[in-house]
Amino acid sequence: MAISLKLNGKDQTIKAEPGTPLLWVIRDELKMTGTKFGCGVASCGACTVHLNGQPIRSCQTYIEDIEGAEVTTIEAMEDTRIGAAVQQAWVELDVVQCGYCQSGQIMSAVGLLSENPKPTAQEIDDYMWGNACRCATYQRIRAGIRRAADILEG
């Protein structure tokens, strides 16, 4: 089947079998590999992208369900105000270790800051719970989100 969507601001027509997860369209079809495969069952968050502005797990989002949607991936974050601030904070604090989960962490962090410009530690934990980091960089993820909030506040 073919579906149309807006990917990182550009109209795109995608041909894939029904039932294909958005994750594999992004990674294997479009060869945009910043969005990661970690578990395939929506329990690690490595595949997080934004669907109409909301963070979702692309491994459990099927192509036939997103006709006409706006999809944003990590590759477009530097062009957004909040995304750029989060990325700047991540580099300032060297949040990453292996780095494999960090695209997903950043996509979720941007989702959080879009809804809540000044989250408390508890609000960060509640929102970020679903993004696993096997290197356990959580302390810096928390600090990175707070730093990004400060950057955005100016």
């Binding site: 079998e17 294909t20 997860p21 594999w24 990674r27 294997d28 079809e29 060869k31 945009m32 590999t33 910043g34 969005t35 990661k36 495969f37 970690g38 578990c39 395939g40 069952v41 329990s43 690690c44 490595a46 991936t73 990590i74 590759e75 974050m77 530097e78 990325q87 991540w90 580099v91 060297d94 949040v95 990453v96 270790q97 292996c98 780095g99 494999y100 989960c101 960090q102 695209s103 950043i106 960060i124 934990d125 509640d126 970020m128 719970w129 993004n131 696993a132 980091c133 096997r134 290197c135 356990a136 960089t137 959580y138 302390q139 810096r140 993820i141 928390r142």
Partner: protein, 725 residues
């Protein structure tokens, strides 16, 4: 970030960009700088001034890329943004890990310890050669010149170092270049030095093996048996043929599984699901983890097979018999999976000259290098390994059998080799692969006198050896004793009177594998919860009690006591806020000393919340303090997360866990702030990737014991009714 290792390509590249100055270290340890012969250097400088550190360790997140480039930049006189890095090709002669033996590899928290001298020497040699060339050019005394921020200056002259590359490349390498005095350091020890891999990992452009899309590549996934060591009888791929993108299926030459080839990953996943394989289970594993545990517990009740320290068991028995009080605990540690964030993968392609090129993030590339040569019947030099970033490993990307690389090679071998083959694992493949932290048990009896002093310590260890039956046995097993089974216990810096350590090996139902901090994963928990229990029984503060056994002038004792005191001080030991309870643990591993105070709220019955962790680490000279802090933060999380609630279990030889929902990773909400303090030191740098892990769960268990008066011997903690808030 590519490194073409062929001589022709190297020389062609050199010609294209002008002259190249390379500095490396020959297998005999001598510095060398001739680009014609030193094809595998440590530092490469082109005449446009570009400097590249050739990093011999792979990057699984622990920071060797940062550390090794820092060493070169420091000696050469560069700022960190003036140096790039490449991963070294597989060449164990030149890039051996000097602490692991004649293999190239990353592990045992040795990257900085073994590279510290080498990369400084290479950087210093390059500096001296460039300065000599500049001095000759300007007709001045070399002693008047220096390099700062990539600029050679002095005696009224100044020019970018690139201008002297051509002349420097004609010089011999100095045999003993002067290394900078620590007072001259600008980068080493500087907390402001940032990771060079941060930006690419935060914007999606970092390339991991999973991200490779070689032209015309096929994706393969392997249908494996549920029970280990079952073999393929036959398969029916009629269902797979209905999947668009499916190419073919083929039994692996060793009958261990069926490789399913497809045009892309999703098709490979679906086609594998649709494949119907008939297995021969006659030689398959049938044991359950209950049987593994029963065997270990039985071994703990019998006389140990090995007397680890050759001490007098009879004397310990007499001491315990005469003790005023004996405290006792039996411990059990389950199998644990490594579960790196990036599922395993490996890509193999044929090269134009009849060789094999493997794209992989191998922790010990020497192992798959040899395996490839054997499988493809090629000389070693016809096998190239291109190292790429690893999305974590924790030991998993190094198996003695090179398991996943061999799988990729065998799959590739079933093809006509015209298309690259990318092997992809799923998370289920990863958790069920059979490579685990082995199961271990300990049984410890500690005798105390009337004053609470230790008079005897009888310590039995039983479990599944990691090294026996592998090529590492010859180096790491002595007198039958696998040191990795007892490390952290029998070699404890504590000066314990009447100590006796026994070891018994039990059978392996799965493949055992080093897992972040190896034997220390269990020995630290046992040593530190028993010391705590003894302290409480003696009615002595747990910090004071430990210090009694770390008295004297011994370096080991002093450094261990040092971190213990520092962590206690920084944590406000004994002064926890109302409703909070502290637990402490201290351990030496990988030549580093780490003490941790875990502060919890709540209790075992109502729910435990980890409020904060305070840590002191002595890892010698701190090359990259912020990387060290990050490693300790992460390794604490790794230790606490698994011991809270994770285990791998088997039923009839089949792994019970499938994916993260039933092998739950540590989550952000599980753990509060971690505060790391580094002991200032001029000693040579030691490990930081692992030493934070061993004491973490022990400190947590000690906090829970202090809050709730429960001692937990069988892990994970959650299996004992401990709830976490």
């Amino acid at each position: 970030m590519t490194l073409d290792t062929s001589r022709r390509a190297f020389l062609a590249g050199a010609a294209a960009i002008g002259t190249v100055l390379v500095v490396g270290i020959r297998p005999d340890g001598a510095l060398a700088a001739n680009a014609d012969t030193m094809l595998n250097p440590f530092v490469r400088i082109t005449s446009d001034g570009s400097v590249t550190a050739i990093v011999k360790h792979f990057e699984m997140g622990q920071g060797p890329v940062t550390g090794l480039t820092t060493l070169v930049a420091e000696e050469l006189g560069l700022s960190m943004d003036q140096i790039d890095y490449d991963f070294a090709p597989s060449n164990p002669e030149v890039y051996a890990n000097t602490l692991l033996g004649p293999i190239q590899g990353t592990g045992g928290s040795t990257a900085m310890a073994n590279a510290y001298a080498q990369y400084r020497q290479a950087g210093a040699a390059a500096r001296e050669m460039l300065i000599t060339a500049a001095a000759e050019t300007w007709g001045v005394d070399a002693g008047t010149l220096r390099i700062e921020d990539g600029v050679v200056s002095g005696a009224g002259n100044s020019a970018p170092l690139g201008e002297f590359v051509a002349k420097a490349a004609t010089l011999d390498a100095p045999t003993e270049p002067r290394l900078k005095d620590p007072s001259e350091f600008r980068l080493i020890g500087n907390s402001d030095v940032r990771r060079p891999d941060s930006a690419v990992k935060g914007n999606g452009t970092a390339m991991y093996g999973m991200d490779l899309h070689l032209p015309d590549q096929m994706v393969t996934m392997i249908a494996r048996p549920e029970q280990q060591r079952a073999t393929v009888v036959s398969f029916d791929d009629s269902g797979a043929q209905q999947i668009k993108g499916f190419i073919r299926a083929a039994t692996l030459p060793n009958n261990a599984g069926v490789a399913v080839f497809a045009e892309h990953t999703w098709a490979a996943m679906q086609a594998r699901d649709a494949l119907d394989v008939t297995w021969d289970t006659s030689t398959a594993e049938t044991r359950s983890s209950d049987e593994i545990e029963a065997e270990i517990r039985a071994a703990l009740d019998a006389e140990p097979a090995y007397n680890v320290n050759k001490t007098d068991a009879g004397a310990t028995k007499v001491a315990l018999d005469g003790a005023a009080m004996v405290i006792e605990e039996t411990f059990y540690f389950p199998l644990l999976a490594h579960a790196p964030m990036e599922p395993l993968n490996c890509t193999i392609e044929a090269t134009a000259d009849g060789g094999i090129l493997m794209h992989d993030a191998a922790q010990i590339p020497t192992l798959p290098h040899g395996a490839m040569a054997q499988i493809f019947d090629l000389p070693m030099e016809k096998i190239q390994i291109k190292t790429i970033l690893a999305g974590g490993s924790f030991g998993r990307r190094a198996t003695p059998e090179a398991d996943y690389q061999v799988e990729a090679a065998l799959a590739f071998a079933t093809t006509d080799r015209s298309r690259p083959v990318k092997l992809v694992w799923s998370r289920e493949d990863d958790l069920r692969s059979g490579y685990y932290r082995p199961a271990f048990g300990h049984k410890v009896r500690v005798g105390l006198d009337d004053a609470g002093n230790i008079v005897g310590w009888d310590h039995r260890i039983a479990g599944q050896s990691i090294m026996k039956g592998t090529p590492f046995e010859a180096f790491l097993v002595h007198d039958g004793i696998d040191h990795s089974s007892v490390e952290g216990a029998s070699d404890t810096p504590y000066q314990i009177p009447g100590a006796h350590f026994g070891l018994t090996d039990t059978e392996k139902a799965t493949s055992t594998l080093w897992w972040r901090s190896v034997g220390h994963t269990h020995t630290a928990y046992v040593m530190e919860t028993m010391m705590d229990k003894a302290a409480r029984a003696a009615g002595v503060d747990p910090v004071e009690y430990r210090l009694k056994y770390l008295a004297g002038d011994g370096v080991d004792q002093q450094r261990k006591a040092g971190v213990l005191r520092l962590a206690a001080e920084k944590a406000g030991w004994g002064n926890a806020p109302a409703g909070h309870t502290q637990g402490i643990a201290v351990h030496k591993s990988f030549a580093s000393y780490v003490a941790e105070v875990v502060e919890i709220s709540g209790n075992a019955r109502d729910g435990v919340k980890i409020e904060k962790v305070t840590c002191a680490v002595d890892c010698g000279l701190a090359v990259n303090p912020d990387v060290i802090r990050a490693q300790i933060e992460g390794s604490i999380g790794y230790g606490i997360g698994h011991n809270m609630r994770d285990k791998i279990t088997l039923t009839g030889g089949v792994v019970d866990q499938f994916n993260f929902p039933d092998y739950e990773p540590l989550r952000i909400s599980d753990i509060g702030a971690i505060d790391v303090h580094i002991v200032p030191s001029a000693e040579p740098p030691t490990g930081v990737g692992e030493p934070g892990t061993p004491p973490a769960a022990a400190a947590l268990a000690n906090a829970i014991a202090a809050a709730s008066n429960v001692r937990i011997g069988s892990l994970p903690l959650a299996d004992n009714g401990i709830r976490f808030a």
